[in-house]
Each structure stands twice: as structure tokens, then as C-alpha cells.
Amino acid sequence: MIIRFKFSRRGPVRYLGHLDMMRYFQKVVMKAGVSARYSEGFHPHQLMSFAYPLGVGMETDGDYMDLEMEDGNDPETVMDELNAVMNEGVKISAAVALKDNAENAMAAVSAATYELIIDCGAPEEGRKVIKAAVSEMLASDTIMAETKKSSKNIRPGIFALDIEPEENVNDQIKISMFLSSGSKLNVRPADLFDTLLTMPSVAGSGLSFRLSLLRRLEIFGLTEDGRNVPLDHADVL
């Protein structure tokens, strides 16, 4: 059976790369002594996969890991056993068994939500500038994101983009976003942030902005009838 775990990672552990995160979970599984299944061969390894590699520096409240286990395991019990041996800022918040024909987590990804905290020397003025930039972005039909390799229009992949009202966040500038992910159109939050800084109102402001925290909130999959639902929702299992 395959169990899908939803996990968060917060704090200093966010500076791990994807492969190290995987190695971390493998050790957690070993420590907890839960009955994972292994590949054949001289150096058997656990059959573990992730929905969406977590970038270095990114926090998450809603990432997913699939683990093949011996049949008959109770997802919640396994979750508790794994949580009992972790205290580094990683925590599993939900566990569900996949149906036999479920898509693997990576292939199922359709969208993700993020929040982003931006530092600025003059926060009050800065928030106005970012607010304007967000409006400019949403108003246009094409937004070209330049990466090292290519340039693509990410506008259709921005499902939502909001700036948090001031009263909720004190001095911080915080924006939240709902972005298309996966094989069709993948919008990376960092690319979006970089592109935001090229909007006319930012460029004209003379202020400088720095990303101080990037956090994924949830990863979604697409149901048969075209809704984006969290990856542990019964309709995408």
C-alpha cells in the first residue's frame, strides 16, 4: 500500500535541498521502525516520492510525500510514529492511504499556494509600491518571466495574487499567491517575485525589496470535473 503524508517544514531546516530532505525522511522512517517496503538488490532502498521538490530556503505547510508500505498499516498510526522521532521543524499533519490506481504525487500536481514576505527599508511606502505592482501585473494579459534558459508568459498561470492588508501584518509586506504548477504550466514563486520587481511602479520607486521568507501553503491536484483540491483530498487519491 502507498500512504500519502502531508507535512510542514518551518525554521532553519528550510535550507535543506530536495535530496537532503529525502534523505532526512528516509532516516526518519528507519528510526521510527515502521514497515516501509524496499527495492530489491544489494542496496535496498525505500520507495519514497515527493509531490513537488522543496527549494532551498522554502518553508511549507502543505507538501506531500508518498511512501510504499507493507499492507495493513494504519496511516494515522504511522504518522504518529514518524512524528515521534522528529523535532527538527518538520511535522506530518495528515496521512491517507492511496487508492490502487491513484496517480503518483508528482504527476497529480496542478497548482500550489504560497505566501511571501518581502523586506523593504521603508515598509510603509514599500507596501504601496508592491500593491501597485500587483495591480499592474494582474491588469496585463502577458507577463513574461525570464529564466536563465527561457522566457515564458506566466500570466495564465497566476490564478490569484493578493497583498495582505496592513492591519494583519504590521510592518511586513506579505503577498499570497495561487499559481499553476505541474507539467502544463509551472509558475515558480521566485520567478514571479523577480518579475514583480520589474513592474513599472517598482522600477520607478527607487526602493529595494528583498525576499525574506517564502512559504508554500498547499499543493493541489485536479479532480475529474476540473477543481483544484489539496493532494490528500479523496477526489484525487
Binding site: 532516516k27 528510526k31 528583498r210 525574506s212
Partner: protein, 625 residues
């Protein structure tokens, strides 16, 4: 209050962390790292391995001391490693003080900075650590606002080139005297006694060497003459400390597990300490004498506990010569049994190749991918007698034959060049030995059974004479002699019938020369080390950052005739700067071995027959078996 690992405020900003390679080298919080309440501990001890995180985290000694210190309620032990060059630059530019991984607080505020010194080429990194921490380089310039800087590890068997940079050296195995030292420290602090007086009192503890309490004299050629205590309460000789009963000593069952892949990314059990073999070039073989074993039961219990507490998927056995461990058969049988149930790999140390080891290797490795390893160290039998390496050509060829029959076809061989009394034909003999191994393959394995063909990989490093070995009197080869010998070996390999099956590599010789100078140098070298550091040297153990020219210039500028330390044969009666250390092994014994070497005369090992090296005084290990 104890701050949880996940709630710590990091010393580096998000922006900096995102701009450097492998930021989690600097963020701590790894599984089994220890957080304590600073208000409830009396001593903050920062332990440093002066190289990059992945190397430092692979070191067993720090894990032992870290676990032991943190098992004491009054002590909080933290870690720090050398910031890699990318972060080093940022820290200098922005004046960010060096911080420890756990608390992320400045190292300068600690009570102790303990530096483990594993190889000479990290000496400039020691200065980097002090520099970034804003601690004066020289002990004499430090005040009560600085931590006590204490050094340990194998290089302290010649502390002198770095003696001025340290307040204390701890001579020997850390498990033994630290409690006493920390008790004294706490006592002094409560009584309002400062560092100077503390250091004076510390010398009453066995194994504690305070370099500033000695005067060194040199002759008109600037050669070391003697080192005398400045006061009568300072001991003239410092006795190496060692663990008498390895089954009683502290061993960590919950070592810190690095998040990122370290060089040694596995659980480790140390089966024994020391070595019975008396190879004449080998410092480790002498300074860890006598060999002391751990019981099989102790090791099995610890291995299981470590695996349970770390989640490692691989276990390895550590010691200088694991084949000599008397309980090896039972240990491996039980471990293989346990680990295969738990899907844990066993990574074997290089064992002496025989029926038993091949059987074990067959069980835990993929024969197609693995190789069998021999370390004859020298190509000819005469040279192996000179260095007292017991391995004969017959052993090697028989071992290879057995391995080929068992299905292996990769052989690795390790040699040294530039050994004392070495001739050109000894360099050629390396090639002949490789060729003979290939021949054994073709004679042993019928054509139709050959899968791929035999691959022989030979590599040679250049020999560096080390203190506390029979070769401490020996001259080193000059760079051109090293290279000439490597060329001879290379040409000889090409001339062999089976040359296509043999690949030969040799190591760089620039590092070797500098290592040689630092290994047998004296206190005058601290100026050279400071000079070379101030002119940009750092991470000298790394080829991409090492500069030979820089070092040679530093010796010239600081008036040090470096050739005098390495290229001459030292007279039998020369006083060495490291003679004040009582390692247990007597100088007369080493001298006798030096003479035996010159006659290519073999000696025994500790189990065949005691050679009376002087270690019986410790009353433990193989000496009393």
C-alpha cells in the same frame, strides 16, 4: 530557557544563506544536536574541526567528545566548522563574527574553543577560525574576554609549529582528563581567578601542556636545542593520556546526524583503538599504542543503539586495522544478520584479503561493482622489510587469486614513493607487482568466464616522515626526486605486458613538502603560518585553494630555512621539539627501529612478540594480554 532547534534565530540572514553554497552547513539543528539552557550550564565549550562541515562532521573524535560533554549537566558543547570561501568573504566584508551551529551565538563568548587538529594542512584554517571569531592569534595577546583555546588530535604529537596559537594542548585521548580540566575552570571562575592563573594551575593535570610556560632555545644554526619549563611547578614531560578500558569509556549512541551528505555518511562503531603492526612510516600506529579492543557485545549493543537513534542506512567499522580485531568473525556474523533484517548496508573497512574476508565481502557487497584492496605501501620485498610492512608478494598474489576465483576483477593497490633507502628499482617494482597480479587473473580465470577484464588501479602518495615514528630521523625526497620516481613507476607500468589493465596515479607533491615542514618543524614556524595566512592561504588541504609558492615565499619572508627541517638525515642524538611528549613509546625503541630499517630488517608485531617499545607502563591492551 531551552530554545528549540526549530525556533532558533539564525546568525546569517536569509539573503546571505540563499547566496552561498550548501547553506545548511551553517544552520545547525541536525537530528541529535543538543540545545541547552545557557543559564543552567556553567561552561560553554565550542568544538571546532577546522575544515569544511562535511569533513568535520565525519570525524568520530568530535562526536565522542560532543556526546560526552553534553552528557554533563554543567557543560554545553557546541560545534563550529570552517566557513567555506564563499561565506568567509561575506563574513569579513560585513564583519559577521564566527558563530557556533547550535546557539548561533559568537564563538568569542564561549569559555573554551577546542580545536581538533587532524592534519597539518589545516593550520591556516585554525587562523581563519580565530580571525573570524575575533580572537587574537597568539595566546600571549588574549585576555579574559577570550575563550581558552585548546588543541587536541594526532597533530599535537608535534604541537610546536602552532604552539604559540594555543593556550593549552591536551595530549592524548579526550575521554580521560576533560572532567578535571573543566572542574578546575569552574573553580577558578567562582574564585575570580583569571586565565593566566588558570593556565598555571591546569598544568597540574596530567596530559595538559601549556606552551607559554616553556622557554625554547636554538643553536647558532637556528636548530632546536631544548625546551625548559619556566617554573618549577611546570612538568618537563607531558604524559599521553589514554583510555585503559575501552568497554568503560564513553561512546555516543546518539551522534549528530548531518542533514547534508557528509564524507562519512553512516553510523560508525570503533572496534578498537591502536594497532599491533608497527609499520615504520606510520604515526597512528605508534601514538595510539597499545591496541585496546572493545568487546563484541559492547559493539553490538552500541551499533544497534546508534542505528536506532540515527536512522542511518549504513554501518561501518572503524579502526586502524580491523582485520586484527580478535572478535571480528563473531562481530561481523551477528552484524550481517541484524543488518540484513533491517535493510541496513554494512560498509566494510579494507580487510586483509583471505577466505574469511572474501566470504564476508561476498555477502555485503555487489562483487561486480566492488574491488579488493591491498596496501603493500612499497613495491619490492626489500622495501617492505624497510618499512616493516608484513604483507608479502605471496600474500598479495594468493589473495588476488582467491578474489578472482570468487568473481572479483577489480584490484586497488596503495603505495608510497620517496621512502627512506628507496632505489629506482623499488619504484619499478610497483609496476611489476601490478603486472603479476594481472597475470594471476589470466592464469586463474578461463577465457569463457571472464566478465569484463581485470582492472588494476595503483596509486602512490609521497612519503612524509612524522614524529614518533622510526622515520622521524629520515630525510624527505626533494620535489624533483619524488616526480622522478613517479615517472619511473609510470614508465615501468607502460613497459609491462599487461599494461593496458593497469592504471597508475600519483598524488601531488607540493602539499607533501609543506606537510613535511609542518610535521617536524618547531616554534619558529608560527610566524610563517601567520604570514602565509595573511597572504591569502586557507583550505590548504584542498588542491583548488592550495598554493605552494605562497608557502615557500612565507618561509623566505619569515627567515625560516624550511629545507633544514626536511631534507637532511637527522643525527641519532638530535633533540626533537616533540621529545617532551611521553607517548609511551620510547625514543630508543624508535631509534632501534630506524637502524633495523636501514638494514631492511623486519620486526615483529605486538601479538607475535612484544618488542618492548615502552608501552607496558600503561598496563592495558595488548601489552598485558
Amino acid at each position: 530557557m531551552i530554545v528549540k532547534a526549530e525556533d532558533r534565530k539564525l546568525a546569517l540572514t536569509h539573503e546571505i544563506l540563499m547566496s552561498i553554497d550548501k547553506p545548511s552547513r551553517y544552520t545547525g539543528g541536525e537530528p541529535n544536536s543538543v540545545m541547552k539552557d545557557p543559564d543552567k550550564t556553567k561552561v560553554r565549550f565550542v568544538m571546532c574541526f577546522p575544515d569544511v562541515y562535511e569533513i568535520g562532521m565525519s570525524h568520530l573524535g568530535i562526536q565522542i567528545l560532543y556526546g560526552m560533554f553534553n552528557s554533563w549537566e554543567d557543560v554545553w558543547c557546541e560545534r563550529v566548522y570552517s566557513p567555506w570561501t564563499d561565506l568567509d568573504k561575506i563574513m569579513r566584508d560585513r564583519k559577521i563574527p564566527l558563530f557556533s551551529l547550535e546557539s548561533q551565538r559568537p564563538v568569542k563568548d564561549a569559555d573554551f574553543l577546542g580545536i581538533t587538529i587532524q592534519y597539518e594542512m589545516c593550520y591556516t584554517n585554525i587562523l581563519q577560525i580565530l580571525d573570524l571569531a575575533d580572537i587574537p592569534f597568539y595566546s600571549k595577546d588574549r585576555t579574559d574576554a577570550d575563550p581558552i583555546v585548546i588543541g587536541g588530535g594526532p597533530c599535537i604529537y608535534n604541537t610546536e609549529p602552532i604552539a604559540d596559537f594555543f593556550d593549552i594542548f591536551y595530549i592524548g585521548e579526550g575521554e580521560v582528563r576533560y572532567r578535571e580540566l573543566l572542574d578546575l575552570y569552574e573553580e577558578c571562575r567562582e574564585a575570580g581567578i583569571g586565565r593566566e592563573e588558570f593556565l598555571k594551575r591546569a598544568v597540574a593535570i596530567e596530559g595538559i601542556y601549556v606552551p607559554s610556560l616553556y622557554d625554547v632555545t636554538y643553536d647558532e644554526n637556528m636548530r632546536f636545542v631544548s625546551m625548559e619549563p619556566k617554573y618549577d611547578f611546570v612538568p618537563a614531560r607531558i604524559k599521553k593520556q589514554l583510555v585503559k578500558d575501552m568497554n568503560e569509556a564513553f561512546y555516543p549512541t546518539a551522534p549528530v546526524v548531518p542533514f547534508i551528505r557528509a564524507t562519512q555518511d553512516r553510523a560508525v562503531i570503533e572496534v578498537q583503538r591502536g594497532c599491533i603492526r608497527n609499520c615504520r612510516f606510520c604515526q597512528a600506529g605508534q601514538i595510539y599504542k597499545p591496541v585496546r579492543e572493545r568487546s563484541v557485545d559492547y559493539l553490538l549493543d552500541h551499533a544497534k543503539a546508534i542505528l536506532k537513534n540515527t536512522g542511518y542506512e549504513e554501518l561501518s567499522l572503524s579502526s586502524l586495522s580491523t582485520s586484527d580485531y580478535t572478535g571480528l568473525k563473531r562481530l561481523l556474523e551477528e552484524l550481517i544478520d541484524y543488518c540484513s533484517q533491517k535493510k541496513i548496508n554494512i560498509s566494510l573497512p579494507s580487510l586483509r584479503i583471505d577466505a574469511f574476508s572474501l566470504d564476508v565481502m561476498n555477502k555485503v557487497q555487489d562483487i561486480k561493482k566492488s574491488s579488493v584492496t591491498f596496501a603493500p605501501e612499497a613495491g619490492s620485498q626489500r622495501m617492505r622489510n624497510v618499512i616493516n610492512k608484513g604483507l608479502t608478494k605471496e600474500d598479495i598474489l594468493n589473495g588476488a587469486e582467491m578474489a578472482f576465483r570468487g568473481g572479483w576483477n577489480k584490484v586497488k593497490l596503495y603505495f608510497m614513493l620517496g621512502l627512506p633507502f628507496e632505489e629506482h628499482e623499488d619504484a619499478e617494482a610497483i609496476a611489476v607487482l601490478c603486472n603479476d597480479i594481472a597475470k594471476v587473473y589470466f592464469d586463474t580465470v578461463p577465457k569463457e568466464e571472464r566478465k569484463g577484464s581485470v582492472q588494476i588501479t595503483a596509486s602512490s602518495s609521497f612519503f612524509v616522515p612524522k614524529p614518533f615514528t622510526a622515520f622521524q630521523w629520515a630525510p624527505m625526497n626533494k620535489p624533483e626526486e619524488f616526480l622522478e620516481k613517479a615517472k619511473i613507476t609510470k614508465a615501468a607500468v607502460r613497459a609491462q605486458l599487461n599494461q593496458k589493465r593497469i592504471s597508475y596515479h600519483y598524488h601531488d607533491c607540493g602539499t607533501t613538502i609543506i606537510e613535511g615542514v609542518l610535521a617536524r618543524g618547531d616554534r619558529r614556524l608560527s610566524a610563517s603560518i601567520e604570514y602565509v595566512y595573511r597572504h591569502g592561504a586557507i583550505f590548504d588541504a584542498w588542491t583548488e585553494t592550495f598554493s605552494y609558492e605562497n608557502w615557500i615565499k612565507a618561509f623566505e619572508e619569515t627567515g625560516v630555512d624550511y629545507e633544514d627541517y626536511i631534507f637532511r638525515t637527522r643525527p641519532d642524538d638530535e633533540e626533537f621539539p616533540w621529545d617532551f611528549i611521553d607517548s609511551g613509546v620510547r625514543k630508543e625503541f624508535l631509534l632501534r627501529e630506524w637502524k633495523n630499517a636501514s638494514m631492511a630488517k623486519k620486526s615483529s608485531n605486538c601479538r607475535e612478540q612484544c618488542m618492548g617499545c615502552g608501552c607496558t607502563g600503561f598496563g592495558c591492551g595488548v601489552c598485558v594480554e
